[in-house]
Amino acid sequence: MSDLSTDPPLVRIGRFLRDNPMIPLLVFLFLLIAVLEAMRPGIVMPVRAGRDGLISTFWVGNLIKFAIPLAMLAACQVLTMLTAGIDLSVGVVATVSAFVCATLSSIWGVAPAVLIALAAGVMVGLVNGFGVGVVRVHPLIMTLGTGLIATGCLQVYQRLVINAGSVVPDFLVWLGVGRTLGMPNGLVLFVPFAIFILWLMRYTGFGRLLFALGSNERAAKLSGVRAWQVYIALYVLSGFIAALAGLLYLGMIRQTSLSLANPLLLPSVAAAVIGGTSIFGGRGSYAGAIIGALILRVLDTMLTLMQMPEGARTALFGVIILAVTALYVRITGAR
């Protein structure tokens, strides 16, 4: 440890924070909740005395409920950012999957509808993976392009099923709005999902390949990694997750629209960046992204309480992403 002491303190703090990103994040989250409690006393209390005895105020449950789809989409960003990529098509994919599921449920029944919705996500992921892995287009431009094409496809599809009406499957509604013991049922889907992602990143060969490609792509390739296969698998997985998140979001909102989940795109990137995932690849944690999603939702509540307009919120997300990334670059000296 003697060589560490020669570094300037800022770098040492930076290294500590990088090794334990959860500590400052959790501190920040609880700080925000404390501020919120000060702004609106009693908001975090799980129960409150109402006219007919104790009533639950549900705020914590609500917070978690709305953070779940965001955290799922953040998983797409974390995984792709590990390889220095990004997936900007997740918002559109989630929307497409929700729309397809809702409209096909009324025509062909629920099971095929869900399968086709997930298949649509996989399709977009496949195209992304091909563009990024085989043709080597920058992921940002590639996923933006596929997002645009998918939006076009959705509009054409919408005209085909315009008379079909839409049905939101019951089990999605149960997942989306149902509650057990004050906690949202979405956790039934999300907890196994989060464990799967954490396991995938930390304990599997695939996860190690992602870290390897992001840290030093050339070294990884020279070590025999077939990069294009990893990229295709990665973006297909990302598309699948996005489609899944779209289904959950459909159950939560219970109505269809052509831009249902699109507003979740920017926050999902922000959640991943706040959670300590480097947009330059090779470093990231999904646990951090989950906390990041919670932080964003608390911030959202706060800005709503302060009656901040929509534009200010969007701008703030941008500033947060930039500030966190700049801070990371400044502290660690890495790019």
Partner: protein
Amino acid sequence: MKGLVRKHGWSLGLGLLFLLLLAVTRLIQPTFGASGFESLARAALPFAFATAGMAIVVIVGGIDLSVASMMAVAAVLAAVLMERIAGVPALFIVLAAGLVMGLVNGALIVLTRVPDIVVTLAMLFVWEGVALLILETPGGAASDWLEAGIRGFFPVEGIPQALLIIVVAIGAVWLPVRRSKLGLSIYATGSDERAAFRSGVAVGRTKIAAYGLCGLFCAMGGLSLAALTGIGEPVPGPYLLASVAAVVLGGVVLGGGRGGLLGPIIAVFILRIIRTILTLMAVDPNVTTIIEGTIMVAVVMLGTWLTMRGARR
């Protein structure tokens, strides 16, 4: 000689392709004439300005993902200002605002040392938010002369006014810059930043200036958006992908240092006329969006592939 052919041959080829597509359009719709060309040029206006701005930052070795958002800010600013004060001062305020937005982008990139793509991605959100703050719902009004200014022909029948605006505005900004020391610095920084720095080029200042120019062109794009629609729309349009595709198709290498502004502008017209052809063939407009998106992605893929092959050699 080979370099010369490569440099101008690409724009020449694009020009020929454009003429060919014009002929195809004429074949499909025999009545397609001067007025058709005029509406084509008008539709191309915002795309041309977005592409010009994007081309400059790509030449300097960066990329600006916030072009569409900056255009939205300029458009709503123009619509709001022109409703309240005289048109000409409003015009200059919008142009100045665009320049400032671009300079902010560039300064953040240079000062924070965060890669262009990340900074401009974050600024995309910021400018989008700013546009929403200026005007929450579509509204405001563009000056009548601005709306009338992009219509019709000048000075002779056959040359659309919109085309003239594109050529004059981009030429007036870009040609003096390109001839000056700044232009040389931009190309030097784009081809090899470290070498340029060691040769005494103020790399940081050059980058900031390039992003500033991009912002200026985005302001022009926003003004033309306001002129086209007559109102200000706070939602960014599909200009990011379109401008990247046109820049790549126009022969500017992603990575910087090579290409000019002529090729990308012709490329804009090629992409626009493809849309016209699809419309004339009575293709569903939504399907047109899909085809257009596919073409753009294919163009970027091809460009990346060619760059990779060139790098390997």
